[in-house]
Symmetry: C2
Subunit: 222 residues, 2 copies
């Protein structure tokens, strides 16, 4: 099925999300294989990884139905996303859990932002993705329990989370500068409005991130 030509930026948007989900799937699977302390934990992170794969497939199918080549649509975002993962490689199981929870959470916020201005056909896809979101909750309980047992973990993991978000913002800014149509999908493109809207977008993302940090037992960053 081929729909009518997509709005500018839509292929970029689906492309960046598709590559983000594909990579999250593969990296989480790697973390599960290398870092999980028990088979139950390995299966739980594997479950989350498989969910990300499901999201990738929805996005890829949507790209194909728009007449876009999924590989071409993902290609411009490979370097930024690979660089983010290279800079945020977990060194232990708790870092892997925080990464899974924060990563899934930030991705969810991203999908919500898209839903704010997306056409209805895209919104259905966003709803499907968000319906899965609670599956990262297992990480919350594991990390909270670990911090209760060893309170010194809290400071190290809070720094870790802040670093992941910092790296994500810096890669995101690089991408937004390189792909103006993509940025316009998220913040609108009316002259003069975009700076204020970018400010509000960052404020919302930061607020949601702070809530997740508190939920997982880590003090929100400054």
């Amino acid at each position: 099925m081929t729909d009518s030509a997509p709005a500018p930026g839509v292929v970029d948007l689906l492309g960046v999300l598709a590559y983000a989900e594909l990579t999250a799937f593969l990296r989480m699977a790697e973390d599960a294989a290398l870092l999980a302390p028990s088979l139950t934990d390995r299966a739980a992170l594997g479950d989350l990884a498989a969910m990300e794969y499901g999201h990738f497939r929805m996005l890829r199918d949507r790209l194909a139905s728009l007449g876009a080549d999924p590989e071409e649509a993902m290609a411009p975002f490979v370097d930024a996303i690979d660089a983010w993962h290279a800079q945020t490689k977990p060194r232990d199981w708790h870092e892997a859990l925080v990464k899974a929870y924060v990563g899934t959470g930030v991705a969810g916020d991203f999908y919500r932002e898209i839903a704010r201005r997306a056409e209805p056909a895209i919104r259905g896809l966003v709803d499907e993705v968000l319906a899965d979101e609670s599956r990262s909750e297992f990480a919350v309980e594991r990390v909270r329990t670990a911090i209760e047992a060893d309170p010194r973990l809290s400071g190290r993991l809070a720094l870790w989370a802040r670093r992941m978000v910092g790296e994500a913002l810096s890669q995101g800014q690089r991408l937004a500068a390189a792909r103006p149509e993509l940025a316009a999908m998220l913040v609108g493109d009316e002259e003069g409005e975009d700076l204020a809207e970018i400010g509000r977008l960052f404020a919302r993302l930061t607020e949601e991130h702070g809530k997740r940090m508190a939920a997982i037992g880590l003090t929100p960053g400054p």
Copy 2:
């Protein structure tokens, strides 16, 4: 839901398959992330990896419904399966493809053997797994094309496939010796019958493996 107590060996059987599928999922995801030459290839192997995860989940749910703890059921098989993967780590994309195809194929043969003598409740699970089997076919086309372009690949990949099967048989024999109830699930346990039946089982597995080697463009081993 808890069914009546399972037959001896059933928990072992579901346990070894569950750990094999969980590990296949995670290792294939790793191979996809590290070795795929294009995003399309990465997604194709990722697709196969996600399918293995689906099988793992079916097996885990079945164990739980039998009142067994999935982690305990998998634990006796961790060393053998991890050892197999450590000895069969692909060094390039073509080795990864052959591993995916041969591994999925041997696993399918295994499920077919189980179906030969399993109770009906287990047979439904086997059918679901076998329905997915054609998804590894993409590997056949990729490897055949690569061998046509570079015929020297054929000898190296044939050796690679033979090594994987050799390692699998040696791990399998270790497991069968350590878990007699599991072996009995596959070959029957009537006095005097088992040796002949083991011979027939090996003959069937070898024959199917030979067919797959021919399909993928590799000469079957001696």
